[in-house]
Amino acid sequence: MNLNIEEGRYIILGSIDGLLATLGIIVGVSVTSASNPVIVSAAFGGAIALALTNGLGSYLAESTIEHGKLAVTEKSLLRDLSNTYVESLSRRKIMKDAVFSGAASFLGSLVPISPYLLSVGSVIVSVALSLISLVALGIYAGYISKQSYIVSVIKMVGLGALIIVAVQLLRISHLIQ
């Protein structure tokens, strides 16, 4: 599949969102319950909610932007572009971006959940898998942006690690109480 830069944006956004938010849920729930089914249930609930909100959010945002762009073009052409090839291109873009955003989010969520599905579940394994995924995302980001792969990976993993540390601190503070 030939992906362009626009699709890359939603793949990176959605994946990071799904990955780190679901990891946060797993870390948070694991404080109160070590039961696999409880963790998987909470994480999947979060994954589905994230996928839907990201998909719908992208749909609404892209609709707004694309209709705005169409309006500007219509003003320049002094004509209505409804039911033309130009409008159909816009509609296709909106749907594609929404699907990419939601799907990337759900697939990103599966990364930290997967150890629990394979009965090797632990927070450490989920964190490790998430960091590996962030490395892969960093390489992808470097490929799209034509910038240094190392810098992209460091940025991706660094920011992801910050979030993981913040969530872990929350977990530790709860344990201390």
Binding site: L77, V86, L89
Partner: protein
Amino acid sequence: MSQIKRLVLDVLKPHEPTMIEVASAIGDIQDVDGVNMSLYEVDQQTENVKITVEGSDIDYDIVLRTIENLGAVVHSVDEIIAGKKIVEEEETLHDRG
């Protein structure tokens, strides 16, 4: 009615679809033998192009519908050749002056 052999149109189009897509779409119309498209002005939102269409029996309504469906606008018909054969414009003393 006479058969239209050549049409030269002044068209304003958005950047998308590209000139290649527009030319291909017009070239696919029945009885159109060839299309020439040239760009003569560009701004942030639009492109001004001259489209020359030649064929054995061009249906202007279909050409117009195709262009409009692609989001473009025909500003004017700058040249039209109709009849049994192609007749080129003759230079007169007035033009030479």
